[in-house]
Structure formats: C-alpha cells, structure tokens
Symmetry: C2
Subunit: 248 residues, 2 copies
DNA sequence: TTAAACCTTTGATCTGCGTCAAAGAAGACT
DNA sequence: AGTCTTCTTTGACGCAGATCAAAGGTTTAA
C-alpha cells in the first residue's frame, strides 16, 4: 500500500498524473521522458485474469483505476489471496520472468505498463528507481507479515475487523479524513473474496459481519456500503494494539 | 532465503567470507573496502532478544552463524513468527528507524553489523547495493506470501510437511545434495517455535510429527534429528504442486 | 549418579469454524 | 415490471485443532 510522498509535485508522469508516484516520485524530467516513451495502457474487465501464475511476464506496471487481487491456488482449488492491489500499486517484478501468482481484476481496471526489458535497463541507469522500488517492496513485505499474524493467530471476528480497518484506513488516508469517529466506505470485495483474503469460508465471513452489525460496531447497507461507527472500537475488535500497526 | 549467486567469487567481504554475498555480491573492490570500514560484529546467546519491536534500530546487518526468528506478538501473548533468519540472511531496513518485529536468537548467533547511517549513505552512492537489496526483499516477499497460503489454507499435517520441506530444501541447497531420496537434518526449532511459525499449538505440532512418523514419511531420533525418506512424498503431504514453489 | 529444568508426547474433552443445505436480497437484463 | 443470475444470509451438524492435564524423555549441572 502506497502513500503519497508529501512535498512531491504530484503530476510527474504525463497523463498518468500522480498514479506513478510509485515509480517516479524522485525522477527528474529526463528520466520521466524516458518513462513516457516506453509506457502504454491496458484495460481488463471485472473477473478477467490479468496474469496467470507461471506465465511469462512481459511487463511491469501499476494500477491506474480499479481493484485487482494477487492469489495463489492449490491443486484441489483452495485459494488464498496474498495481496490486494489498489490504484497506484505496482504489479510485476523487475528481474523476474515468471509470474508467481495469479493477478485477477476484481473490478474493471486500467493499468499503465512498461515493457519489462526497457524498464529494467532504465533501472540500471537510474538508481532512484531501484531505491524507490525497494521502499515499496519493504512496505509490501510489512503488509504480508502483518497478514501472517492475522492468518496464523487471529479469530474470525478479529480477522474481519482487521480487514475492515485496513480498508477504512486506506479510504481515510486518501480522503485525508480523520481517523476518529464515523468512517464510511464501499467494500471492494465480495464475501467470497474477503474469505479468500482472510483464510475463512464465505459463510463465516457473512456470520461475523452480521455479528459486528448486531453488536453495533458497524452498519451495512446494500451488502457493500459499510459504516464504521467508531474506529477505536473496530481496532479493539481487530485485536490490535492502539493503532494496529496497520499504518504504513 | 538467499541462494548463492553462481559464478560470483565467494570471498568478497574480508573475514566474513561468503556471508555477505547478500549485500555485496556485485560490489567492486572499492565498495567492499568501504563496507569493511563500517562493519563490526555482535554476538547474542540463545534466547536473547536482539531487537525489540518498536525499538530504534541503529544498525543493519546479516547473520553470520546461528538461527534467529522474526516474531510478532499480540497484547494477550499470541505469537506469530513471520520470518526465519539463517546465516547470510539480512536483518534490518535501510530507511526504517523503528523495528517492526522482535528479532530473537534461537541459538547462539553472531551478526555482522553496519551502522545504519553510513550504510544508507553508501546505498545512495552505490546503485548495486540497492538493486541487490531489492532482489533479496522480493525473495523475502515471495517467502512471506508462500507462507500466507500455508497459514490461511493448509491443514495441520500439510503445514508440518511444508515446514520440513523448507528446512530440508535449505539444507539440501547448502550441501548441494540431491533433492531425491533420503535427506537428513537437524530441526533448528523447538516444537513451540514450530507452532509459532505454523499458526498451531505445540501439541498439534507434536501429534502431526508423530503421525508422519507412524505413516513412514519421516523418522526422528532424539527430538531434533529428522530423516525424510522420500522428498516427493513429503512434498505431496505438503499439498504443493510438484516442486512446491518452495524454490527461490 | 541424581536432581532439576526443560522439552515432548499422549490422552480426554471442548469449541470455533467448516460443511452442507436452503431460503432470502440485490443487481442485471429483457 | 418481471425473470435470471449472482451474491448473501441463516440454520443444523460435524470435525480438526485448541485446551487442559499428566506422564515420559532429554539435557544440563552439581
């Protein structure tokens, strides 16, 4: 999950606008020009698989609009989501030919892509890009490890609360809204996708959401729209200490 | 988990020998000299906490000998291991002041450290280091996501088999031994530590190891020494497709 | 060698979540 | 508006793994 770098001019990368702060927040004009030259756009419909695990990956890029997921599937069909990709998140690995996970579009999405080879060549000659990617990757690593605690030790109710807290925080960050008091947002995932993220079944997800509703922690209208009445209460339900470590 | 880079001279970093391939596999002599100048050694006894979560981290470094773990603990004491640190693995984050996890020495360990500031300055001026760290971090990210599948979807028996497979493979890699047929190794972890890694209780770990013994998949002498009779069988028990994706 | 501390195994019981099943709701299309 | 499809909720029941408890091994130190 990426945050804006405060103090950086936001309109670096041509018509992508701030979307590429992930890649080029520190680039100078020259480097940006070169990024412009090798980039192109691709769209995918909701439900489409962008990249199959094991495929050759010809590009890297970032999400411009929409939501995608990173998932792993076992032979017998058990599925675990290992990442949630939001606008501005980076997809793909410099130096890796083969995709390790499925990337699936959860909504309609637009991606801005760079062919892998030229991107890697550019990385060689532009230290800032490797440094920026390192910071992004460290953030992702923290998120993955945070999630290992959720999957390994938290109870169903705590897992739901953790997920809601993450989504709420992301929305709150983008809106620069207060973290205290009410927060509303639309769930970007179906119950089944939530279950795949949380290591639960969709029935358990549904039951726990109902329970949080009944206990007045949240309210839900029309399946997707959630209101968190009090963020602190939610974080307590998530079993997190104070800020939940969900920061960053 | 780091592998040797084939074709690289192994004795780059002075008296650390190959231990710093992690950091300097691509460094030229000049850069290595500078690494030598800012490095120092620290030892810790088994059971000691090297770094407390939330502490200010004055250094980065790598494990020279011994085993350490990266763990997260909830207020009520529930613990999840989020990483296993073996010799040559990197500890710490350039650009991060605060340690996000506890680092605990599982055995007596020796670390080779660099003060964070000079190391970061060196990263600025030495693109190869950032690129090398990026590759390492991507490997760690893959390992963490692999583990998310284990924690989210695998059954107790599969989890044990997955852990044994990882340890066996690491030993096999270091010994350049065949991956077919018998493999023997010593478990670097107590049952409790295994449980913390696997998101189980120590009783369940013990029971499942007994079951794998009874079913002839492994044999164990003296609590720690394990013999895997057939690696393919173990990988099947782990629920992994063919090679288990444990590669890398 | 004996004791003490620790780690591991095994048993009995309990429970949270998965599984199976069926009945609502909410969109999407005609 | 009405039908279809997809998503969600709720219920009943069973089981894998947690919890509680105690005994058996292994290691360390005296």
């Amino acid at each position: 999950m990426l945050l804006d770098m405060p103090g950086q001019a936001p309109s670096h990368c041509g018509d992508c606008q701030i979307r590429h702060r992930a890649v080029c927040a520190k680039c100078d004009t020259d480097e940006l020009q070169r990024l412009e030259e090798i980039k192109y756009y691709r769209s995918f419909e909701a439900g489409q698989t962008v990249i199959w695990s094991g495929d050759h990956m010809g590009f890297v890029g970032s999400i411009v609009t929409g939501i995608a997921t990173l998932t792993q599937t076992m032979e017998d069909g058990r599925t675990q989501m290992v990442g949630l990709l939001l606008p501005s998140d980076f997809v793909g690995r410099p130096g890796r030919e083969i995709a390790p996970y499925d990337v699936v579009a959860t909504s309609d999405i637009v991606m801005c892509c760079f062919r892998r080879k030229p991107f890697e060549e550019m990385m060689e000659s532009t230290p800032h890009i490797a440094q920026r990617l390192l910071q992004m990757t460290l953030d992702e690593l923290d998120a993955a490890r945070e999630w290992m605690l959720v999957l390994g030790r938290k109870k169903a109710r705590e897992r739901i609360a953790s997920l809601l807290a993450i989504i709420a925080r992301r929305d709150a960050t983008l809106k620069l809204a207060s973290l205290q008091g009410k927060i509303e947002f639309d769930l970007p995932l179906t119950r089944e996708a939530m279950a795949d993220y949380l290591g639960l079944t969709l029935e358990t997800v549904s039951r726990q959401i109902s329970a949080l509703k009944k206990d007045g922690v949240i309210s839900v209208e029309g399946n997707r729209h959630v209101t968190v009445h009090d963020m602190d209460t939610l974080l307590q339900e998530a079993g997190d200490d104070t800020d939940g470590g969900i920061l960053s």
